[in-house]
Symmetry: C2
């Protein structure tokens, strides 16, 4: 989706990916088949391009830093920022240092630390791996003191931290983009709904008061204002039961909670990311219709092309984005469907029909 937008503006796109049949392989000028953290592959890529960006955070930051130093090529977002965000504990520390709202947390070096954390923060308590988690992986919920051993077995016991449990009423996300000139634009807040810790649906704008919407967008703006960043970021948030907005996590890339912007906004997150990393002015993040939904197509239900496509395409203002992934696995994100609507009730009906 990034590559198609880049090409629309006239850029040539070279993809680095370990799989020769990855989704981007059929929408690029050339591909280097190689690991994202493999310095030789990165050097090959750097040799062919003027600007480097990424859309996954599981890349070795040291490789990127070395690449930047060795070649002088620009990487957006900055590898140091990636490094800061990849370590969830340092991310949280950064937020706290800059007075950005987030829940209480604490480094956990051993089982003793965890016991003390339980005493101070209470139960349940969320324990997280500092590195590499996604879609709920790398998280462990301590419900009773007896769970401590299991948490240390299941997670990377050397790199843990604990988060005080946040009783939330909603999960929100704000996509935000910063240009090379420092211009920052936020998209409308979305409600994100998860099943088994995987995003299943988003609804824009979030069904919260305008005041809370403004507050969430202001928080996302402030994060990008404080962090060294060029490009699109997603700021995932909790709306707590007492109507506080707390930052859950920052994603340093275009994000599933921003896929609705493709047909939903004047400028999609993908188009704005390309504008940002190539030094172009940002486009409007305004919505084109009152309400926009997004539903993920997950692997388990995936005979989509043959059976369901005609039914889906017969619906009004429904847009299919199939990523062309060859292998379908349970819960793998195979594509998504965007839905334009005039009201939340129209959207709800369409989402029900789709499901």
């Amino acid at each position: 989706m990034l590559s198609v937008e880049a090409q629309k503006m006239g850029f040539r796109v070279i993809i680095l990916d370990p799989s020769a049949t990855c989704p981007a392989s059929s929408v690029c000028h050339d591909q280097i088949v190689g690991g994202l953290s493999d310095l030789n592959s990165l050097l090959k890529l750097a040799d062919l391009v003027d600007v480097i960006t990424f859309e996954i955070e599981h890349i070795d930051c040291d490789s990127l830093l070395q690449l930047q130093q060795q070649t002088g090529k620009t990487i957006y977002p900055n590898p140091n920022t990636l490094s800061l965000i990849k370590d969830k504990f340092s991310q949280k520390t950064f937020l706290k240092q800059h007075n950005l709202p987030t829940g209480d947390f604490r480094e956990i070096k051993n089982k003793e630390d965890l016991k003390t954390a339980i005493e101070d923060f209470g139960l349940p308590l969320m324990v997280k791996a500092r590195f590499g988690g996604y879609d709920g992986k790398g998280n462990f919920v301590i419900n009773q003191t007896n769970d401590i051993d299991q948490a240390f077995e299941e997670l990377d016991s050397e790199n843990l931290y604990a988060e005080k449990w946040i009783p939330f009423q909603k999960e929100l996300s704000v996509i935000v983009v910063k240009s090379q000139d420092g211009d920052i634009k936020t998209y409308p807040v979305v409600d994100t709904y998860q099943q088994n810790s995987i995003c299943s649906t988003t609804v824009a704008p979030a069904q919260i008061s305008l005041e809370l919407q403004d507050k969430a967008r202001k928080i996302a703006f402030d994060v990008l204002d404080k962090i060294e960043a060029v490009g699109v970021f997603a700021i995932e948030m909790f709306l707590t039961k007492d109507n506080q907005i707390l930052i859950n996590e920052i994603a340093p890339r275009v994000h599933n909670s921003g896929h609705w912007t493709m047909e939903g906004c004047v400028t999609s997150q993908f188009n704005n990311h390309i504008r940002a990393v190539t030094g172009l002015p940002l486009g409007s993040t305004q919505m084109l219709v009152p309400v926009v939904g997004m539903v993920n197509i997950l692997g388990a239900n995936y005979n989509f092309l043959s059976d369901d496509l005609p039914k889906v395409l017969a619906m009004e203002k429904v847009f299919v984005h199939n990523y062309g992934k060859i292998e379908a696995r349970p819960n793998r994100k195979m594509g998504h469907i965007n839905i334009l609507a005039n009201s939340y009730s129209e959207l709800d009906q369409k989402i029900q029909d789709l499901k």
Copy 2:
């Protein structure tokens, strides 16, 4: 643009084109480098795909027919329809036979025929090559009887016909699509503006009465109703000085006068063409905003990427589509810009700013 839409729906796309660096080469799963009328290349293509379509009419119809017979593979639109349309004289004859409105015309086999045509139709008189014309090429205007020799020298003298001069106030176009089930949908009428016989700008909806808009869409509907067709067609029309609508030409493919539909309509002409040729239901042709313009980027002004892109992208609701053609030639269509607006005056201002 077709390929990107096909991929969104989950299709694999193989392109046949003589140039390895053609625009589609960077948005397809695979490419066969070969001539569009070369039977061997066509057979290679047929071997790899289930459905074949084309987006240029300058293909040898006999090759396509042979391909269809030899492989049993479906080609949309039908090669016989392509053949009918490619010969502008048989196209006109078809329109007349089906009582579809078009100007008077006559086959011209020799200079005597042309003299008689001048006597019957008057001057000026339009002489056209039956085959292969585009962007004004293959047309010759006879202003005086003395011009006859020159017309026969400049055009393919074996295959000519004459069209009675049509004093028109406007040129219109309607994009229309027919599905495999015979469902037909027309897009809103556009005004098309040409410079040196090349389309420079389109405006949707055309600035004519609603009654005339309905009439033009009805004519386009009727053409697809009468012709054996699956896919998108463009029906170019004249609005005469006495408010008659006459069909000028049929294009059996997605068309420059439909490029505005990409951001302008719920379903673009490209998306609907792919739906049609793959047997899927057609999507809504409704506009998303009140007024949509399209401006072509022509070769002569083409240092677009470096100089003008930031200025263009700083404008609101302006969408750049650069085709990634490597060689810029005067008047070559290198890309287009779509413009969304709330009023014709807003659109006019934006078009002026763009130019």
